[in-house]
Symmetry: C2
Subunit: 201 residues, 2 copies
């Protein structure tokens, strides 16, 4: 009976789980979804592959757990709305860039974007978490017409910037301060969220 | 001697080569770089795997040939510059969206973007072809300061929009007419290429 699987949570379980997730985030970000394997994550986390399966079931389960975003959409939403409507684009840009300035935040977001390029589950997560839970409620709170389209446009610029800066590697973006980039894309996000979408700028 | 490989170009060779490339484009776009195999492309093109190797050498060679962009940067550049400076953002948006409205153009561009998310060779191609050969010369011709940064910002919005509309699948973008999208992102590209990058919009 000594080999019976232990159920229930023991001290140490959450430590192991967190260690696996940290390795998984790094691997998903470095290799993308396709080339990351349960076995490779287990090896790097120094646990048996069965332990990874026990906690996460499948690669998709592992990915979903690892891709938990480094922010709470509701909290960010409240923070962004707490300020003048005419500068919300700049606050949104600053907030997003601040997240990718941290190693963990960058690994989580770039891992999700990389995976979303080739995996429909990851793409859905990107749509749900960034557009659905953050940008759409933001556009709706701002009472702009066409909230869906506005949220999608803002998402396209934010994801596009993170992709160009941190994934496909446009060097000048990596070399440019977050504050300068926030100044550059802030007006874009502002117009997408609150400005006219057609006609002259 | 009947099995001797035939060298030199025969009628039919370019047809086979084109057929392989068409399959490869479709597979790279549907599956991404990692999950596309030489063997799978050969099977779908109804040729032996050795034929694919003969023409393209490696998966990277196949990818490079398949990802030939559906436009000539020099020709596009000349076309874009042939018009008022203050509407160049709209012309650029319209041109890019016209390309992804065609099946071939869409498959080639989305294949390249998908692959660039996980493969450095594809990322380099994306940087070289879209930013280096098209957007950077465009920003330089417009005599704007910080041409590198401007080209990178314009690229981030264009690639971000194509990714959101055609890869990660934000439905509202897929449902919105190209003309409406060009009106929406045209002013963004215009400001990135010619406008002030800092301070109020």
């Amino acid at each position: 009976m000594t080999a019976r699987p232990r159920l229930g949570r023991r001290p140490g379980e959450s430590v192991t789980r967190e260690a696996i997730l940290e390795v998984a985030r790094r691997k998903f970000a470095d290799l993308g979804y396709d080339r990351t394997t349960m076995r490779g994550v287990a090896a790097d986390a120094d646990v048996d592959a069965s332990v990874v399966s026990h906690y996460f079931g499948s690669k998709q389960g592992l990915f979903t757990a690892a891709a938990a975003l480094p922010f709470e959409p509701e909290a960010v939403l409240a923070e962004l709305l707490d300020g003048p409507r005419e500068t919300i684009g700049h606050r949104l840009a600053t907030h997003a860039l601040r997240i990718v300035e941290t190693t963990d935040g960058r690994l989580q977001i770039t891992g999700l974007i990389r995976a979303a390029a080739s995996d429909e589950n990851a793409a859905r997560m990107l749509r749900d978490r960034i557009t659905g839970e953050l940008l759409l409620p933001l556009a709706q709170e701002l009472d702009s017409p066409d909230a869906q389209l506005r949220a999608a446009l803002a998402s396209s610029q934010m994801v596009g910037l993170i992709m160009a800066r941190h994934i496909t590697g446009l060097q000048v973006l990596a070399d440019t301060d977050a504050a300068v980039l926030a100044d550059a894309i802030g007006p874009t996000l502002q117009r997408y969220l609150t400005g006219p979408l057609t006609g002259a700028q």
